[in-house]
Assembly symmetry: C2
Homo-oligomer: 204 residues x 2
């Protein structure tokens, strides 16, 4: 019963209902679909409004630009939450986390979303702030991997539990956005093991 109340409370707080919330849901869902289908460069406020079945002046008035639409979609994604893998070992958790990143970026449709976010953040302060908040929330949620490993005695105490997840993901994002090199599961596993070796050495 308490659980049910908590679920209801969660629903009420994240979906306050009403026309305004329904419009936001429809528009932000359309942002996501448009990003997957057209990518950042092909996105327009008109296309998003069309796909959401909302008049374009409504979208212009409430969001203004594509970058603000992307930022708001990111805020919603952050609120929806994400749970770190829980495989029973730090190595398993980190490999699962790294493969999640690789699987996203090697799927042409899914990769367009994070690529669009980085592109939008390079052009707009509002998108930059949303991206920062999004990754702050992600790092916080991923910190549990290090915390559980410390509890199990797999790792020495970590000054910054998020650093293990950051270091696991960084070489993968580096290949996507900086060097332009390809990604595969071997790259993911190596990044996970490299981060773990540094954490074992007490560097985080």
């Amino acid at each position: 019963m308490i659980l049910l109340l908590k679920q209801l409370e969660l629903q009420l707080s994240t979906r306050p209902g009403g026309r305004s919330a329904r419009v936001r849901d429809a528009v932000l869902e359309a942002v996501h679909v448009e990003l997957v289908h057209r990518g950042y460069l092909g996105m327009t406020v008109e296309n998003v409004a069309d796909r959401a079945g909302v008049h374009k002046t409504t979208v212009y008035r409430r969001w203004g630009t594509v970058d603000v639409l992307i930022a708001d979609a990111l805020d919603r994604g952050r609120d929806a939450g994400w749970t770190a893998p829980d495989t029973g070992s730090a190595e398993g958790d980190l490999i699962a986390l790294a493969r999640e990143v690789v699987d996203t970026f090697t799927d042409p449709g899914r990769s367009r979303v994070p690529i669009a976010l980085v592109a939008a953040a390079l052009q707009s302060g509002r998108a930059r702030q949303a991206k920062r908040d999004y990754y702050t929330a992600r790092h916080e949620a991923a910190g549990v991997i290090a915390e559980r490993a410390v509890e199990r005695g797999e790792l020495p105490p970590q000054a910054d539990p998020a650093e293990l997840a950051r270091q696991t993901c960084a070489p993968l994002f580096y290949r996507v956005f900086v060097s332009g090199e390809p990604l595969d599961h071997a790259t993911a596993d190596r990044a996970a093991r490299a981060a773990l070796a540094a954490a074992r050495a007490g560097l985080f």
Copy 2:
């Protein structure tokens, strides 16, 4: 004398002389200055032509767009070469390398150049290819850090000598382009030591 001949050869091969080469030098130098002063979003073919003292139709005919200008400037930067730090130890070399990245990104003027390159590569295939070639050359040049460390007996043999440099730089680029978190020398030193711990564990 042999050295002098080699220098001359190098000059001749990288600066073949003639009006066409002088125009390219002036235009690409102007691209660099415009990037530092205005950033990627503020850059136009007209401003570059003005600063270079070249007619804008010349620039349009030869390069066409801002992205192609940036790609060509990157190609020239790659040809100009870069030398990895040589401090006598792997840790010293990696810390110097990491601090070089941090010093670039914490200088508002200098950081505009690599940020513009990433932005251009997200929008243009030509810039993407130039960026890939640039980082391939950088990784090759940085591989010497691992090779010297193996020779000195500091590290076990490395399957991919470039990986140590990639892993050192990745957490720094991750903060700039993905999480939006700040950089300082402590972050640089930690990234260097983390990569070294993984290399010592034989993971690269």
